[in-house]
Amino acid sequence: MAEKKTKRRDFLFTATYAVGAVGVGAVVWPMIDQMNPDASVKALASTEVDVSTVNPGNTITVLWRGKPVFIRRRTQDEIEEAKSVKMEELKHPEKDEDRAKNPEWLVMLGVCTHLGCVPLDQKGDYNGWFCPCHGSHYDISGRIRKGPAPTNMEIPEYKFVDANTIKIG
């Protein structure tokens, strides 16, 4: 009955445990990965929008990956207002030129960076958007100016396929 402590036994048990642990890991991964976006969801990752009917000063909202995307055709005044803001005044400093490559069009994920609500258009203290959930104010470039949101609203990847069509994603 006496336990013989030999090197071989120790090695054997360690090896068994180690190999077993690898297997458990290999089994756990598929069970986790199945919750990630599946192949059909990933395939829908881009969407094309016809913007020919949007007039200056108006915003349309389209759905992309299940989230609203604001596409605002800004007026000349709004563009100038957005460009005039000094970087020091911003909580999350970003130049308007970097956010809207074509200054007439602001394409932005319409999701408040605080906790994910959809901000309201042309509301708030900065002539931009206002999130009704916890009172975040965004300017006409979608930058956070006041309230709990930590960063500016996100700019998705997009490009103009032609003068009237924007491809998001």
Binding site: P30, D33, M35, D38, A39, S40
Partner: protein, 420 residues
């Protein structure tokens, strides 16, 4: 659970254990004195636990993608098979897992029959086991309906129609089960709900099953009561844990072979055709694990009596501890019973075989003879055998068998009969 007093070493452990004795429970489980002569047929309890957990885990993940709606169920299963990350793997494990579960449970049941594990004082363990088995059949049947293929639909139609055999209220019950005038969307959604519920009921019953087992302790191949703990026992951990683990791995190799190389062999091709209430498939066959009962059902020409015969075939098992009158547990020391046991095994295999064949001509005749024998075995042979059989002398303990040679040797001889 009061084999001996257990006190945790650490102060925190003691503090916790005084309030919720989980550590006492863990200690009981690891130290649990187990007969040291348990053979590999005893490893199927652990294997079944593994099967249940596998089915629950894969089932939960499948439920995250499956849509229980008559118009979308089939499509959502194809979505799982094609698009969901590792969806094909999880579904094939779940589908084949059901078959592996039944394979293991049949071995577990027949082990119990051979070694008389259902006899006093283990009747409650046995009866809980029968309830688990019934719930397993219900869960498997309802799970098979969920993909909403042709076999799903027609299997559901045929099985639910069994209830119409009940006099007077039968039709009403069937309509109630369906939630309509045929198997349709309401039937599918309730089957999904119940299919989700039953595994957790089984899990609860498994806890009771093991609890009831830990009161008298394990039976063993010699079938004698043993002192515990004693020279005849080993602690559950590490001895039984590692042995169960080894057997489980062997089982998993077989399981993996089915999942990765022949994932559809145990299913039916027709279930890859979407359900169509206008066309019945040419051959309606249940899954292999239900075939013996299906054969019994079809062997009786009367609708109601057929259903009664089929249900009795299962419920008769619950009465087994009282039908078997022999004082000796293990078939090792019951030369006559041993022969009848193997005849019963053959009988059930034959029933399974004819259950898959068309119910006509010679097959029907064989099914009737086999059905009759099944009941004769339990209702006539077992009760009589207990009084008539001349049994062999039983050793007093596992370590000191009074017979020439160890009990394991006697066991080995019994196995020979299988090879013929």
């Amino acid at each position: 659970m009061s084999d001996h007093e257990y006190t945790p070493q650490s102060k925190a452990g003691k503090w916790f254990n005084d309030r919720l004795p989980l550590l006492t429970l863990a200690n009981h489980l690891t130290d649990y004195p187990t007969p040291k002569n348990l053979n590999y047929w005893w490893t199927f309890g652990g294997i079944l636990t593994f099967c249940l957990i596998t089915q629950i885990v894969t089932g939960l993940t499948l439920a995250m993608h499956y849509i229980a709606h008559a118009d979308m169920a089939f499509e959502s299963v194809e979505h799982i098979m094609r698009d969901v990350n590792y969806g094909w793997l999880i579904r094939y494990i779940h589908a084949n897992g059901a078959s592996m579960f039944f394979l293991a449970v049949y071995i577990h049941i027949f082990r119990s029959l051979f070694y008389g594990s259902y006899k006093a004082p283990r009747e409650i363990i046995w009866i809980i086991g029968i309830i688990i088995y019934l719930l397993m059949m219900a869960a498997a049947f309802m799970g098979y309906v969920l993909p909403w293929g042709q076999m799903s639909f027609w299997g559901a139609t045929v099985i639910t129609n069994l209830f119409s055999a009940i006099p007077f209220v039968g039709e009403g019950i069937v309509t109630w089960l369906w939630g309509g005038y045929s198997v349709d969307n309401p039937t599918l959604t309730r089957f999904f709900t119940l299919h989700y519920l039953i595994p957790f009921l089984i899990l609860g019953l498994v806890v009771l099953h093991i609890w009831a087992l830990h009161v008298p302790g394990n039976n063993n191949p010699v079938g004698i009561d043993i002192q515990k703990p004693s020279k005849d026992t080993v602690p559950f951990h590490p001895y039984i844990v590692i042995k169960d683990g080894f057997a489980l791995l062997m089982f998993m190799i077989v399981f993996a072979f089915f999942v990765f190389y022949t994932p559809n062999i145990l299913g039916h091709a027709d279930n890859y055709i979407e359900a169509n209430p206008m066309v019945t498939p040419a051959h309606i066959v249940p899954e292999w694990y239900l075939l013996p009962f299906y054969a019994i059902l079809r062997s009786v020409p009367d609708k109601l009596l057929g259903v009664i015969a089929m249900l009795s075939a299962i419920f008769i098992l619950a009465a087994l501890p009282w039908l078997d009158t022999s004082k000796i547990r293990s078939a090792v020391f019951r030369p006559l019973y041993k022969q009848f046991y193997w005849i019963l095994v053959a009988d059930v295999l034959i029933l399974g075989y004819v259950g898959a064949m068309p119910a006509e001509g010679l097959y029907l005749l064989i099914a009737r003879v086999a059905t009759a024998y099944y009941f004769i075995h339990f209702l006539v042979i077992l009760p009589v055998l207990g009084f008539k059989e001349k049994t062999l002398p039983v050793p007093l303990s596992i370590t000191e068998p009074v017979l020439g040679g160890s009990p394991n040797l006697a066991m080995a001889k019994n196995k020979e009969s299988l090879t013929k």
